[in-house]
Amino acid sequence: MIRTPAWSLYDAIAMSARSLRISTRQLDALLITILLPVFLMLLFVYVFGSAMNVGTDYTSYVVPGVIVLCAGYGASSTAISVASDINNGVIDRFRSMPIVGSSVLVGHVVASVGANIVSTSIVIGVAILTGFRPNASLTDWITAAGFLVLFIVAISWVGVAIGLLVRSVEAASGATFFVLFLPHLSSAFVPTDGLPAVLKPFAEHQPYTPIIETIRALLLGTNMGNHGWTGLLYLVGLLGVSLVVSIRLFDRETV
């Protein structure tokens, strides 16, 4: 009666409207969505970029890295929003209503995806202004967009799972640290070839590297190798695990 697919969708739409509206009122969320991509892009291009030699134009090289970094900040905001919903009793209110309670999580993910699409567009916009010259066909662009959306959805669910797991706003911002730090130990900002032997194997095989390499190959028209499939596998795995964990945690009895 309550949990038909049509009603689930209805609840998810209402909750998405809620989360989207709330995120337009949060100054810190707006800063992360709009200003952070601009600052990061300028920082990497003009500050770090001046000393970088990666074999290609650094602006073009760094675009995928900045996109995933921004998505990490977005996931961190999502974790914080979920934790704060738990703390102020909003989640309890929804769980005690005749609705699909977990739709509140879907709402957070939709808002996060929305914010990240804005951030990503800003990164690409700023990149083009600062000299990014993509070499991609329409199909490449569509594939890259699809891949990025999948990445953003997956990392948003990771944020939701973290928020449900730690249940406090402070802990949520702490726990998302690794989501933010991990891209730095990948091929996001420097090629992995030059890394010390201790870091190199990790950097080459951690999830961010194939994800970033896939986006890079699609946008710059370089050889993707098997990064595409590895990245896709990572994303589907990450999405599946964080979805299952989130639903489990949501249904778990709260103290």
Binding site: R3, D92, M97, E253, T254
Partner: protein, 317 residues
């Protein structure tokens, strides 16, 4: 008035070794205001969360309007509204937006939504503040909005967990009026409180719980008849005087509450009784600094009914 809407049978819930609810059996009649009275940690919130289908009991049975909270949570949710201890509203949204979201989630159609929202804003005196973010609301306004959100779906029973905790006296009185109005409209109200006065002023029936067990239940009148309506408080210059007086009165008043230099004696409030007590003390030549009469606090009630203080050492003064 006589049909039970909430029925609890031997309800138990433990966390680890701690039995938060230790076999609660009680019922609430449709259309009444029922108060669950108890100190901090008595199990009130746990009980309310079970009724709100947020947690499940370890054993026993809880039904609302005949629907089991464990096996038919969705039916229970469709007729029950739970307002938790902290106003669970979205701070960054306006009052109106909060209500609209609730109306949306309660699946009202578009015309109904706006009508219902305006109606509730009006009723709770929030129309002027409707377009302001909730962040700017006072505690009393938040509470009102919280309850208004609960009423969007026209629940048959409204559960309020400590609705007046943290409110100033004026907001508290306003909230009491709201609760009475709701009951007049036929909504059953089940509220928890730590304040005897609140239960006494509002409720048709009171269930007193402590450490997960029902200690007493009945109408406010019947409970007050048991407790003694007025507490005689005597302040002594030193503790030895207090102890002497206490010993002298022990026979007539086995249940006295004391701290170092003062004594609290439950009485009927009849002048002759007070006179008798004072006379005993006066004859023994025990010095008394001051005397006062006041309504019993939760502590007095517990002392009278169980012979012990409330488990949380918070005296509700």
């Amino acid at each position: 008035m006589t049909t039970p809407i909430v029925e609890l049978q031997a309800l138990r819930k433990s966390y680890g070794n701690h039995a938060v609810l230790d076999g609660i059996t009680m019922c609430v009649h449709e259309g009444s205001i029922a108060a669950l009275l108890g100190p901090n940690g008595a199990g009130k919130t746990t009980l309310v969360r079970i009724l709100g289908t947020l947690i499940t009991p370890d054993s026993g049975r809880a039904t609302i309007s005949g629907h089991d909270v464990v096996t038919c949570p969705e039916l229970v949710r469709s007729i029950t509204a739970l307002t938790g201890q902290y106003a669970s509203v979205d701070e960054l949204l306006t009052g109106e937006e909060n209500l609209r979201l609730a109306a949306w989630l309660w699946r009202l159609n578009r015309q109904e939504r706006q009508a219902r929202v305006n109606d509730l804003l009006e009723r709770f005196d929030l129309t002027a503040a409707a377009r302001r973010p909730v962040r700017t609301y006072s505690g009393g306004m938040r509470r009102k909005l919280d309850i208004a959100m609960s009423l969007i779906g026209r629940p048959r029973i409204l559960i309020l967990d400590e609705p007046t905790t943290g409110l100033d006296p004026r907001s508290r009185n306003a909230l009491w009026d709201t609760v009475r109005d709701l009951a007049r409209d036929g909504v059953t109200v089940f509220l928890t409180t730590q304040y005897l006065e609140e239960a006494d002023r509002l409720a048709d029936s009171i269930t007193l719980i402590d450490q997960g067990k029902v200690i007493a239940e009945g109408t406010p009148e019947s409970l007050k008849a048991k407790i003694g309506v007025h507490v005689l408080e005597l302040s002594f210059p030193d503790s030895s005087s207090r102890i002497r007086a206490q010993t002298l009165l022990r026979h007539s008043y086995p249940r006295q509450l004391h701290d170092d230099t003062s004594l609290r004696i439950p009485t009927t409030g009849a002048p002759v009784e007070v006179w008798h007590v004072l006379d005993v003390i006066h004859r023994a030549d025990i010095p008394v600094d001051r005397m006062a009469m006041h309504s019993p606090t939760l502590d007095d009630v517990f002392l009278t009914l169980t012979g012990t203080r409330t488990t949380s050492q918070e005296t509700s003064e």
